[in-house]
């Protein structure tokens, strides 16, 4: 059996705008991935626990409420503590370009702003995901 990319799609914080997260979940599944959708109101701890239990290769974080600079690095940090550095982290939502550098330096694999074609995101994941 060919291995499949396993992805966690999570909405950190209280933001309820999940149109993008759900769309991307659906499109990644169509690209052959197994996508675990966690739903809204996820704390960094919940997201990392899910990634660990599901042995996720990729974790997607979507934020439209401006909390990315708080949440994303926190998820990265918890992943590091658990020795999960090989998990690819990607973020999206309303994130100003001026924050990209900070987020990437803190350990995010990529940040996708509004209007990014989903095909670009899928290709990025396929090209950068770990082997296990």
């Amino acid at each position: 059996m060919a291995r499949k990319i396993k992805m966690i799609m999570a909405k950190p914080g209280l933001d309820g705008h999940d149109r993008g997260a759900k769309l991307l979940a659906r499109i990644c599944a169509e690209a052959g991935m197994e996508v675990v959708y966690t739903g809204l109101r996820q704390t960094p701890e919940m997201i990392v626990a899910a990634a660990e239990q599901e042995d996720a290769d990729v974790v997607g974080l979507s934020s439209l409420s401006g909390v990315h600079n708080y949440f994303f690095p926190r998820v990265v940090e918890l992943m590091k503590q658990k020795g999960m550095e090989d998990v690819l982290l990607v973020g999206g939502g309303i994130i100003p370009e001026e924050d990209y550098d900070f987020l990437k330096k803190s350990g995010m694999g990529a940040i996708f702003g509004p209007g990014t074609p989903t095909t670009e995101i899928v290709e990025f994941i396929q090209a950068n995901v770990r082997q296990r």
Binding site: M1, K6, E34, T38, M46, A49, A50, Q53, R132
Partner: protein, 330 residues
């Protein structure tokens, strides 16, 4: 590979268990060495199956039931099975959404699993995952599936106690009867019991059970529980029903019989699967399959003779012997 996953799993590492399950899902060779080491440490956990039609509220029920089980200090493993897309091979696994509140309890392990189309069958894959969670130290393992296809019915065969979930107003009882799901239920659950029609559904099921009881002698009559899972109502009673079924199984000796039968079935299925794989691989590699199919098409050969020839050839072949020798050495 220097990491000893089996040892880590026995120490309770969720991460190691997660990786082993991935290998099992991928049918990756690395899994089997590890599974061999874990096998002696399995057989301890109690396995509960939860099935029912889409929209019956199974995930919510599983979550609420888990909360009840956790009250008694038992550790819980959850396997939530969703179908893979036959077209893309991908899957959207959404059961975790309703299980969010369980996510950071270190004594709960939740794994979403897609049906994929495993060579060895979904039941084997599920049974393997159950063993991993068992070795991980979970006391109760809950398998949740949508009860519509054969895959799902098979998975439930892995459970000690099977709960069939229905909701009023969906014509559920009739549908499930057709699908043969009524026959596998050890416990019935009418979820969303605050909706209109729940009394009628209850009556329907009871009538069916009465009819059944007249047809054959049964030591266990499935109790019918009413729950409102979203509000946490009726879950204590549901857990009691599961526990009394467990007690019945143990007292009557059925527990031992069922497990023996299951292990025998599984072992045969594994042998079947592996033999088939090896033989097919060989036939494909040496081109004999293609040639034989050509002959079958032209009616120069019949499949009955082919079957006999292949089995005879293979059993006497050097390759077969070599495999035997290897196994005795190791």
């Amino acid at each position: 590979m220097s990491v000893d996953y089996a040892a880590q799993i026995l120490e309770g590492s969720h991460r190691a268990a997660a990786r082993l399950i991935s290998w099992l899902e991928d049918e990756d060779e690395r899994a089997y060495e590890c599974m061999r080491k874990l096998y002696p440490h399995t057989g301890r956990a109690y396995v509960v199956g939860i099935t029912g039609s889409p929209g019956a509220g199974k995930s919510t029920l599983t979550t609420a039931l888990t909360r009840v089980i956790r009250k008694s200090g038992l550790k819980v493993g959850i396997i939530a099975v969703d179908p893979s897309s036959p077209f893309t091979g991908g899957a959207l696994l959404g059961d975790r959404v309703r299980m969010s509140e369980l996510a950071d309890d270190p004594d709960i392990y939740i794994r979403s699993m897609a049906t994929r189309g495993f060579l060895g069958g979904m039941a084997k894959a599920a049974a393997d995952v159950v063993r991993v969670l068992d070795a991980l130290g979970k006391d109760v393992i809950v398998i949740e599936t949508v009860g519509v296809g054969q895959d799902e019915v098979d998975i439930v065969g892995v459970a000690d106690t099977t709960c069939v979930v229905m909701v009023p107003g969906l014509g559920d009882a009739i549908q499930s009867m057709k699908a043969g799901i009524m026959e596998i239920a050890d416990v019935f659950v009418i979820n969303k019991a605050d909706h209109p029609g729940s009394d009628m559904l209850c009556a329907e099921i009871c009538a069916r059970l009465d009819m059944d009881a007249q047809l054959r002698e049964r030591g266990w009559v499935a109790p019918v529980n009413k729950t409102v899972a979203v509000e946490g109502v009726g879950l204590d009673e549901m857990w009691l029903s599961i526990e009394s079924h467990r007690k019945y199984l143990l007292d009557s000796g059925r527990f031992y019989d069922n497990r023996r039968e299951r292990i025998s079935r599984e072992a045969l299925r594994m042998i079947h699967g592996e033999l088939f794989r090896v033989v097919r691989e060989q036939l494909e590699q040496n081109g004999r399959l293609d040639a034989a199919v050509e002959q079958l098409m032209n009616r120069k050969l019949d499949p009955y003779t082919l079957m006999r020839d292949i089995v005879t050839d293979w059993l006497s072949s050097s390759q077969c012997k070599r495999r035997r020798d290897e196994d005795t050495q190791s």
